[in-house]
């Protein structure tokens, strides 16, 4: 398929508006992505024509809603190349998925056990594991990072012991855009018998993950970062692990039988899907995944790489610029600071010029502590962005620099 940027941009109504009197340049895609019209229409269609509760209703709409919801699960299974559809659980997002797994391990871990996370994690893949360790008496260990933002893989090797029960790392760092060598991380963790959770929140907008090829035990991601609705997400888990973990929440669909003496749990995936889920969101998430697959992840990756290269090259024109996360394996996220300027001041000024970037610690404070900075300016590009928009960013940064100096 030819990558027709004009046609793609026409799919995103939100991009064609002025902010503060200037055409919007949206470079905060790592925080959330914009939604194509097919997704917006599908959400409206659901509420206009389908809305009903799922799995138990005998009436027509309930059947239609159930079919659409389960069809979406199958699409996601296919997208991730999961072995079974019941290994795909709908969640409220990445954070929910990690909490679900970490909470389960909180019951399985024992004092003396170890959990490994990396220095590159955002708070959602640190704090739930701290909870799990506090609850179980296990110890949290951290894979250190190198000055270029890559993980210190030699140190990782040394951290792994027979006590390591879980390794939880992100596929791509949200703050720096570094792509981690997760295949190797997973292989090494499995050698000591540890389960591996991959936080794919930042990867799924750019890469089609193959959970069987990766051989990860859990893979989590959010719908809203891949053109889907907010409050949606997926937890992929290997059947054997999902059967070992206790349920996260009680009620509704997750039961097999309830008596006041004892409750038995439903089979997968319902064991982990208590209560009425975000039905519309789950269905529409499938539409978003279809949309991305139609464009093609190879096309997306190639185009975004062009944006990354062009963006890096143009940002180099800014006097006093420092880039954070310069390892070779990167996605289209550029994190930087300008000498003498606070990222907030820059972000606030370029916002007035219509340019939306993220500034701050990006919910990854340990990374900022590593670099000893209050935060960074992060421009994160999606496949609907253009080089012309990068030019607007550069002009805006130069203006901000002029005003602040």
């Amino acid at each position: 398929m030819k990558f027709d940027i004009k046609k793609i941009r026409a799919d995103f109504p939100i991009l064609h508006q002025n902010i503060n009197g200037k055409p919007l340049v949206y470079f905060d895609n790592a925080a959330t992505s914009q939604k194509p019209k097919v997704v917006i229409d599908a959400e409206a269609k659901y509420y206009n024509e389908i809305n009903a509760n799922i799995h138990r209703g005998v009436h027509y709409l309930s059947q239609v809603a159930t079919d659409a919801y389960e069809e979406s699960r199958l699409k996601i299974q296919k997208h991730l190349n999961a072995k079974h559809n019941y290994e795909v659980l709908f969640t409220a997002g990445t954070t929910f998925g990690i909490n679900l797994v970490a909470s389960g391990f909180g019951s399985l871990l024992q004092p003396g056990d170890e959990v490994i996370v990396s220095h590159l994690e955002h708070h959602s893949n640190i704090v739930p594991w701290q909870f799990a360790c506090e609850r179980s008496g296990a110890t949290l260990k951290v894979i250190p990072m190198l000055p270029n933002g890559a993980l210190d893989m030699d140190a990782y090797k040394n951290l792994l012991t027979s006590n390591t029960k879980v390794v939880a790392v992100n596929h791509i760092s949200n703050a720096l855009g570094i792509i981690n060598p997760i295949k190797s991380i997973i292989e090494q963790a499995h050698k000591v018998g540890a389960a591996v959770l991959i936080d794919g929140a930042q990867a799924t907008p750019h890469i089609k993950p193959d959970v069987q090829a990766l051989n990860c035990d859990f893979y989590v991601f959010s719908g809203h970062k891949i053109g889907g609705p907010t409050g949606t997400g997926v937890l992929y888990g290997k059947e054997e692990w999902l059967n070992k973990l206790p349920p996260y929440q009680g009620g509704g669909e997750m039961i097999k039988e309830v008596t006041f003496e004892k409750t038995t749990y439903a089979c997968l995936p319902h064991k982990f899907e208590a209560g009425t889920p975000n039905i519309a969101g789950g269905i529409v998430l499938g539409v978003a995944i279809d949309y991305l697959n139609q464009i093609g992840f190879d096309n997306i990756a190639a185009y975004e790489h062009e944006l990354l290269t062009y963006g890096t090259q143009r940002l180099n024109e800014i006097e006093g610029i420092t880039f954070y996360g310069t390892a070779a394996e990167k996605t289209s996220v550029i994190s930087f600071n300008i000498k003498g300027l606070h990222p907030y001041d820059v972000g606030a000024i370029i916002d007035k010029l219509g340019v939306a970037v993220r500034t701050g610690h990006h919910c990854a404070q340990p990374i900022m502590q590593f670099f000893n900075i209050p935060g960074t300016i992060r421009a994160s590009f999606a496949f609907y962005n253009t080089k012309e928009e990068i030019d607007v960013l550069i002009d805006a940064l130069k203006k901000a620099q002029m005003m602040l100096n």
Binding site: N20, H342, P343, Y344, D345, A348, I349, K352, T359, G360, H361, P374, G375, M403, L404
Partner: protein, 139 residues
């Protein structure tokens, strides 16, 4: 000494001279740069108003029935905004600070900075100033 109301009106008049956001921001930056330095010994954890993105240190002390505020921030726009607040509320009586209306913020075009998602919401700064006024109220 002018009353809080008078100072606010002065500030509204000054900001009314600016035609666009750029001039307004440049003025805030200038105010930030000219904010008197806070004594380094007051840049401590307990004087910190923690925001999402920038830090503000606010110190208050009592002097001849008035509260004197000094402050600093690591972001210059935030520093300019706290400078506006200090000009308004410093050297005023605790009761006057507590009863002061802060609607002038809207009038000078800084409404967007009221949002808690901005570096250090003006709301937090005003709240902290009023908390000091409560704490330093004479019995």
């Amino acid at each position: 000494m002018n009353t809080i109301q008078q100072i606010q009106e002065e500030i509204i008049d000054e900001f009314a001279m600016f035609d666009d956001w750029m001039q307004r921001y440049e003025y805030i930056i200038e105010l930030g740069k000219s904010l008197p330095l806070i004594d380094e010994k007051y840049k401590i954890e307990e004087n910190l108003i923690r925001g999402c993105q920038s830090k503000v240190w606010l110190h208050a002390e009592f002097n001849n029935d008035n509260i004197v505020f000094t402050a600093d921030s690591d972001a210059i726009l935030t520093k300019g905004i706290i400078a506006v607040l200090i000009r308004t509320f410093s050297n005023q009586k605790p009761n006057d600070i507590l009863n002061a209306n802060t609607a002038f913020i809207d009038e000078i075009g800084l409404k967007e900075h009221l949002s808690p998602t901005r570096a250090n919401g003006l709301v937090s700064m005003i709240k902290q100033i009023k908390l000091y006024a409560i704490a330093l109220q004479p019995n």
